[in-house]
């Protein structure tokens, strides 16, 4: 089974802190994604990566950056956390660009910025 693991289930950070959310997948997937989930808004794409060191902005990249130094690991960085970044963050991975395959999600990280 595909496994996508996020480093933390719950995080509480202070405004202005630099925050790292880590995600690891074990199925050698090319594509990795970071979404955030907010009530009524569904899942919105922050960033995605289709290869090591490659990244593309999603729909809401402002205030975030990402890093993919190894194929299995995709990190989301909040350079200076703000209260409007309080949310559920979901990492996902999928195989093969151009093919119809589903994305597999991690368990999510509930981030609260105070």
């Amino acid at each position: 089974d595909v496994k996508v693991t996020q480093s933390s289930r719950y995080l509480v950070k202070r405004t202005g802190e630099k925050v790292f959310l880590e995600c690891v997948q074990d199925m050698d997937h090319e594509n990795m994604f970071w979404y955030r989930q907010d009530p009524g808004l569904g899942l919105r794409l922050i960033y995605f990566s289709y290869d090591v060191k490659m990244k593309e902005k999603g729909d809401i990249p402002e205030g975030y950056s990402v890093s993919r130094e190894k194929k299995e690991r995709f990190s989301l960085i909040l350079e200076s956390a703000s209260t409007n970044q309080t949310s559920m963050y979901l990492c996902a991975s999928s195989a093969q660009q151009g093919a119809n395959t589903e994305a597999f999600f991690g368990q999510g990280t509930r981030l609260t910025v105070v």
Partner: protein, 114 residues
């Protein structure tokens, strides 16, 4: 502008009856559609998908119908069970969207009453 919309934020159904969850999309380039199920404090899990070359796909109690001319899809759950109570997300992808990037709807909370 949301390209994938789920207009019903919630749905309540009696156990044993049919649940019908609806989804509309606007982007004609979408050619692959998925439904995900999400429990609180967990990541979404893939449920069922359909390619645009089909109008129906069935997997046990779950059936997805696609009406391309109306840009509408629906998920039918028969019979509904209390364990089906969750948030259901509709998602879409298509050629031209790098890395199998999925666009999600806002979700519908299904409550199945015993």
């Amino acid at each position: 502008d949301q390209q994938v919309k789920q207009n019903s934020p919630s749905l309540s159904v009696q156990e044993g009856r049919i649940s019908i969850l609806n989804c509309d999309y606007t982007n004609s380039m979408f050619d692959y559609f998925l439904w995900y199920k999400k429990y609180p404090a967990e990541g979404p899990t893939f449920l069922i998908s359909i390619s645009s070359i089909k109008d129906k796909n069935e997997d046990g109690r779950f059936t997805v119908f696609l009406n391309k001319s109306a840009k509408h899809l629906s998920l039918h759950i028969v019979p509904s069970q209390p364990g089906d109570s969750a948030v259901y997300f509709c998602a879409a992808s298509g050629w031209g969207r790098a890395g199998n990037m999925l666009t999600f709807g806002g979700g519908t909370r299904l409550m199945v009453k015993p």
